[in-house]
Symmetry: C2
Subunit: 186 residues, 2 copies
Amino acid sequence: MARSAFAEHGYDRATIRLIAGEADVDPALVHHYFGTKEDLFAAAVDIPFNPGEALQAIFAGGVEGAGEWLARLFFTIWEGEASRRAMLGQLRRALTAGAEPSPLAEFVTRAVLPRITPHLGGPDRELRAELAASQLLGLAILRYVVRMEPVASTPVERLIEQVAPRIQSYLAGSVDGRTATGASLA
Amino acid sequence: MARSAFAEHGYDRATIRLIAGEADVDPALVHHYFGTKEDLFAAAVDIPFNPGEALQAIFAGGVEGAGEWLARLFFTIWEGEASRRAMLGQLRRALTAGAEPSPLAEFVTRAVLPRITPHLGGPDRELRAELAASQLLGLAILRYVVRMEPVASTPVERLIEQVAPRIQSYLAGSVDGRTATGASLA
């Protein structure tokens, strides 16, 4: 039910109340079983954990090391068979959607990026968070959609070795050792 | 004619001979007017220059600065209205293709990446070239397909400022100032 509600109404407009109403159940019941709307979305696309909690844990100790943990979170989602299938479906939808934003794009915009940017220092942090996301998006497409070699069959740990430092450099606002002014954490 | 031949047969199998045959003209004529197969592909997707020549020029002076010039080449292609439209079409095709590789994926695999990797030093250079490409792919999708803000409306020069150093770090095999062993040029 939630999956079709997110698909039909988009992430923002698909409130717990609306989803419960369409299933003719009490909103409190949906809340009791699924928690927040983002939990419900994660369940609907078979993401096997709460991305909000995961991101909070990643940034709990500051921005240091966050690049690697984001890369690990990314592969946890994409290397699981059920969640990969669900993500592929959401991705294709996002890429073929017309003018209206797709549930996945809205989820990233409303529930993922706002949990990353507050932890970044320096200028252009929304932009840098999105560019980090664009690197992971491009990687997902080459590895799981286009299946281009050698990216498609390189072991996850070697990909993390390559990608994590570049994600980290977006997050920290550092370029080749230089750190952007103010790129520190409270 | 060439466009449909590439779409139907794929980049590898669509030889100049085959394309000329389908149009019932002499292969020498096609060669005379369009040059190499990659010129023909570039013309078919409205890429307003020869990517082979452009890449040769970019790496003529070595890998230094190549990240920025690749980013500029990327935006030259994507910011032009006709070539953007053509690339969007090729991209959608690549993303929805089934088991057979799309013309764009084959073009990147056969005609673009092999012109980049020989210029890179260090280990994993095929992988690093592809990961640099994956960063540009993800950027193209967020900016031109999903149109996510702020990436979608950030001026090109500010995007180049952010993206070029990360592309460069893939190409040079350097992470935060450290350069991978052997990451130098002949």
